[in-house]
Amino acid sequence: MQTVKMVVTGPFSAGKTAFIQSVSEIDVVSTERKITDATSRVKKETTVAMDFGRITVDDDLVLYLFGTPGQKRFDFMWEILSEGMLGFIVLVDSVRPETFREARRILDVFRHYADTPYVVAANKQDLEDAWPPEDLRIALKVSPDVKILPCVATDKESVKNVLLELLYTILEKTPPEEE
């Protein structure tokens, strides 16, 4: 049995917790707490430590998903959660361009932690004013060889697609281990 650890990161309110909750086959270990500052206008609860979910792909492969908090004050958790990851997903809220700069910064921070494959998921594509993935590529200055995938974090199939794309990227770039 092979286990693959993936980290789901991205700015505050990008949809990381929803992403993991949509697809996990176990009750997600989430650490949401009531928001007490002005960002409570955006949403009522925020992740303060981590989310953890699991997906069995087949008999030989299990994905472990670790979601990070979004706010920079929790960046010590980013570092802890990134240990041993084989790839990561940067989730971006496609309708909030004011968060794109932060998304880019988080992407760089995670690339610095480990030289692993990653994909960018353009979340909330079901909303009318969502930026198309290719426009996001320009806005975030994502290199052409990195996948930017359309995503709706509340839709299981959409989340699965993002995870499989990252998985393929990991398998392509990681030479198979000697038995």
Binding site: R33, T36, A49
Partner: protein, 123 residues
């Protein structure tokens, strides 16, 4: 002159440290990791301490309930040079205390519990 709530909380934290000299520093932070009031040494970054306290408490609560230990009372961390003790203040805040290596923990716990009760009234 009437004190603001923050001033009252800082005064209460200082009280705690005077009454229990084993307690070297203390802070009250919100459950989403923002500082409410602190009596921490100047070299401690209070933003980081508050975020870490919230993260640790939330994991503590999850593991206590996941493993059938009920509602979390406190999280206790022992390092070679002393203790970090976190205890919930109502539903919205956490009291974080740094205590000396040879601290009398019974006394520390008792005073923390009393302080937490006072803070839950102030918040």
């Amino acid at each position: 002159m009437a004190q603001s709530r923050t001033e009252q909380m800082i005064a209460r934290l200082k009280d705690l440290q005077v009454n229990t000299p084993d307690i070297e520093a203390s802070a009250v932070v919100s459950v989403d990791g923002l500082i409410i009031a602190s009596a921490l040494p100047p070299d401690v970054e209070e933003d980081r301490v508050s975020a870490m306290s919230a993260a640790m408490l939330s994991l503590g609560e999850r593991i206590a309930s996941e493993l059938g230990r009920g509602v979390l009372d406190q999280v206790y961390i022992r390092g070679a040079n002393g203790y970090v003790i976190l205890s919930a203040v109502g539903e919205d805040a956490v009291l974080t205390v740094l205590a000396r290596q040879n601290a009398k923990l019974g006394l520390v716990f008792l005073d923390m519990r009393r302080a937490a009760e006072d803070f839950s009234r102030l918040i």
